[in-house]
């Protein structure tokens, strides 16, 4: 398949997912769209020839006919929250932190929610844009939760008093179970292996910071951001592997 067509399919999937369209309906449409693009390609037709010059306008037309499934949206958000929470706990374990202040206990869940809203908005708004514009949209939007998280960390360092103490084994067990649960969501060996590699990269970045004693908020927040973005990549990976490979 031509690169431009592949890009159309992937961006359409992300856009429809962030708009809360039922996953089965997305799969069903994209199967037909892919077939249509392949057939059209033989006659020299591009994605723009088939689906019009504005993929976003086309997506909106599709959504209007599909109807949105809020239940499916909830499933997507629940998985994201679980993932972010799991990554947060494992990061705390790597950091050697097992005591939490009230500022952290209230601030980090709020920060997680802002991260989620920002990431979903960034994905939705940056769909069908490319180059500098796409970078600016994603960068601009993710700066908001990034600054909020830094704010929580600064407040905690200045005024935080630890009130909740968890033992290291508890932190790693809870975090580990959540992440393993997410990885087990994949139904194929390839999906499981790829998500494990991705997890290794995610926590690898944090382990490296810890091992090389790279101090400072910038490093910490950077590693946290890499983990959250990685989680989204992992979740969309299952969808990008052809169904036949997943089932096999």
């Amino acid at each position: 398949m031509r690169k431009e067509n592949e890009k159309f399919i992937q961006e359409m999937r992300v856009y429809l997912m962030t708009k809360g369209v039922d996953e089965d309906e997305i799969d069903s449409f994209l199967m037909e769209a892919e077939d249509h693009l392949n057939e059209g390609e033989k006659e020299g037709k591009t994605a723009a020839d088939i689906f019009g010059k504005s993929p976003k306008a086309y997506a909106k037309e599709l959504i209007a006919s599909m109807g949105q499934s809020h239940q499916d949206n909830r499933k997507f958000i629940a998985r994201l929250i679980a993932g972010v929470f799991g990554i947060f706990l494992v990061s705390q374990f790597i950091d050697g932190n097992n005591a939490f202040s009230i500022i952290e206990l209230i601030g980090y869940p709020i920060s997680t929610i802002i991260w989620l809203i920002a990431l979903i908005s960034a994905l939705r708004l940056s769909s069908f844009h490319s180059g500098v514009r796409r970078f600016l949209i994603v960068y601009g939007i993710t700066m908001i939760p990034m600054l909020f998280t830094v704010g929580v960390t600064v407040l905690h360092m200045e005024y935080g008093t630890d009130v909740l103490f968890l033992s290291q084994p508890v932190v790693i067990t809870v975090g580990g179970i959540i992440i393993l649960g997410l990885i087990a969501n994949f139904t194929s060996l390839i999906g499981i292996l790829s998500s494990m590699v991705l997890m290794a990269i995610l926590f690898g970045s944090q382990l490296l910071i810890h091992l090389f004693h790279l101090e400072g908020f910038g490093w910490e927040i950077g590693a946290y951001a890499v983990s959250v973005v990685g989680l989204l990549v992992m979740m969309s990976f299952q969808k990008q592997v052809p169904k036949t490979v997943i089932k096999g």
Binding site: H36, I50, F51, G52, L62, G67
Partner: protein, 114 residues
């Protein structure tokens, strides 16, 4: 008025009629519309319509293996779709007769003026 705007009200009936000729998949349906003369019609437009027609229970789809490899969705009419098509044909016949009468009358008025 743009052709696409005029088409809005009648394209559903045309698609139902093509599907009635025999089971079709998306690309095939778009090619048939093109062959019948709807060249300016953007091919992708059929999918939102097909989704809507299926939601309204006028058409149904079955997955079949294609020669190209992956499975393909083939559409056929439901009983309700057959009824809707018959109704559409009646409405269209009435409409086209009326419109033709008005247009032809307009032509004769022009001639009288000359």
């Amino acid at each position: 008025m743009q052709t696409t705007q005029m088409l809005k009200g009648i394209i559903d009936g045309c698609i139902l009629s093509i599907i009635q000729e025999g089971e079709v998949y998306g690309y095939e349906l778009a090619s048939k519309l093109d062959a019948y003369g709807f060249e300016s019609f953007s091919e992708g437009t059929i999918y939102p319509i097909l989704i809507r027609l299926q939601k309204d229970n006028l058409i149904q789809s079955t997955l079949k293996k294609s020669t190209a490899g992956p499975k393909r969705k083939y559409y056929s009419l439901t009983e309700r779709g057959e009824e809707e098509l018959a109704d559409f044909q009646k409405r269209w016949n009435h409409l086209s007769t009326t419109v033709n009468q008005i247009l032809n009358k307009g032509g004769s008025v022009d001639e009288e003026r000359k």
